[in-house]
Amino acid sequence: MESFFVRYRNLVVLLAILLAQIIGLAVQVRRMGDGRSTLDPGDGPGVRLIRLWASALVSPAERAIHGSRLGVSELWQNYFDLRHVREQNLELQKSLDRLRLEQAALIEDARQGQRLQRLNGFQEKYIYKTVAAQAFGSSGSDQSRVFYVDKGKSDGLDRDMAVVTPDGIVGKVRDVFPHSAQVLAINDPTSGAGVILETTRIRGILRGNAAGQPEIVGVLADNRIQPGEKVLTAGGDQIFPRGLPVGTVEKIIPDPLRDGFILIIVKPASQLDRLDEVLVVTSTESRFSPQDQQDIAESEALKGPEAAAIKDEQIRDQQIRDQQKASQIMAEHLPGLIDPNLPADQQPLHDSSNPNPVTNPPKAIHPDRFTPGADGGATGADSVSTKEQSPKPALPAKGKPKQPNAPSDVPRRNP
């Protein structure tokens, strides 16, 4: 027996290690009702310990490399490459002024929206508190699109917190260690986020595909969806606040697994492969954060009257546009007898093909002063139309005495 183990010790060791790993895998994977398998979302204590060891072993070195790279680039950017900074500063100041103006103009709408939400018993969550973190490492595998950030439990991070950049959403915190955290990016196949298309208001679930592109699944084919449409978070997943940018629709392809469904490939708003600094949303509230409130107050103080004046002007312009639009609609729907763009012989009035032509009134057998056309007494439009229809009036007014109360004294309307 001893000789067997000695002789085949290499194979025995190989089989023992393989068996141990297979048993370890069996512990981690859970069978679902539909026959598929999935990873247990919460790692067991043993698995978590191994992940903690690996992170503790690799993270310090990664941080050091990442820090030195950042240090060199910052040294270059902050001390040497300072050309055009003054111009950029002026541009930024202009942008800030413009944004303050926009914010002051929009804040009243936002307040009204909040009042309506309260009436409807719905309260939108705003990003209340964030923690800035540096992304410094990855899993090293294209099958697992996770990255590590340099903030952890000690900084208030927890599982399932949203990770965003000013451009858009990035992912969610998957695992938290004392001084670092693992973030699952939105382009990983196991990720999931509720999203909505901005224009068509079609909802779906965002996840990653094998190529590392985010795609929206579970959407019925709809020809209203066009490339370029913006994609926002829907807010129903309890992770990402509503209305954050996700990306734009890049292309639409049929879902190979389900007839009638499509896959919407999304171009992410954030550069998922080249992330440096991210914000972890540690708290969402139904009110603005103190920083936001301070910004809003400052914008209102600086640009409030200006924004109000612009808004009044916009309202007036809108009213004028509405009136013009109404008159245009009226003109389109009413029949026109005189087209100013056509010559006199082609006017619709002379169109013999008209199924309802304008007919001359029959000649009066015994004309009197009330007869149209008599003594120039035709009223207003009748008189005008009669003159335009036929060169000869029905009754010439020659020789008739002019009467003081004749209709000709009535001021004629301008056609």
């Binding site: 290499n10 790993q21 899993s139």
Partner: protein
């Protein structure tokens, strides 16, 4: 006779390294494997832990050491991902065992043989990864075989550059 000659050759050609090399080189490989994809993006077509596993397995010519090295590298890689721990571990365990077992029998100091060998082992590790994920665990896994082919080529290219450098670290009598 064959066993004796293989054992004699193995003892003759076993490479020895300072202890620190056994700890430091795998650690550097793991750190770079985790950090470089952030710089190179989707063009990170390499698997440095596999290259290091194969190098030490070929140099030491001990299947047990190759197995242990492959298992530990694979498990650490799995631990850094969010997948189940053991999928890469199994793939690299087998790769390390095969590298050491074959290294006893053929002349792996030949440059072309090394290249072909690491290319073959890279493909084998990818196949094992897919097999364990799909068939053993029954998990959904979208595999891009072109990427795996590029990764095998990338591993071979890295082996061309790093193996001569690592050879300089061995203890010479």
């Amino acid at each position: 006779m064959a066993v004796l000659s293989a054992g004699f050759r193995r003892d003759l050609e076993i490479r020895r390294y300072p202890s620190i090399v056994y700890g430091l080189i795998p650690l550097v490989a793991l750190v770079l494997q985790a950090w470089l994809p952030r710089v190179l993006g989707r063009f990170a077509w390499f698997d440095l832990p596999l290259v290091v596993t194969v190098y030490f397995a070929l140099g030491r010519r001990s299947p047990i050491q190759g197995t242990l090295m492959g298992a530990s590298m694979g498990l650490f890689e799995d631990a850094l991902s969010h997948h189940a721990i053991g999928v890469n571990g199994i793939a690299k365990t087998v790769a390390g065992f095969l590298a050491a077992s074959v290294g006893v029998r053929i002349d792996v100091d030949n440059f072309t043989v090394r290249l072909l060998f690491i290319f073959f082992l890279s493909i084998l590790a990818s196949v094992l990864y897919a097999f364990v994920s799909r068939f053993l665990l029954g998990m959904e896994l979208e595999f891009r075989w072109f990427t795996e082919l590029f990764k095998a080529i990338g591993n071979s290219a890295i082996a061309i550059l790093t193996f001569p450098l690592l050879d300089r670290l061995q203890i010479r009598d």
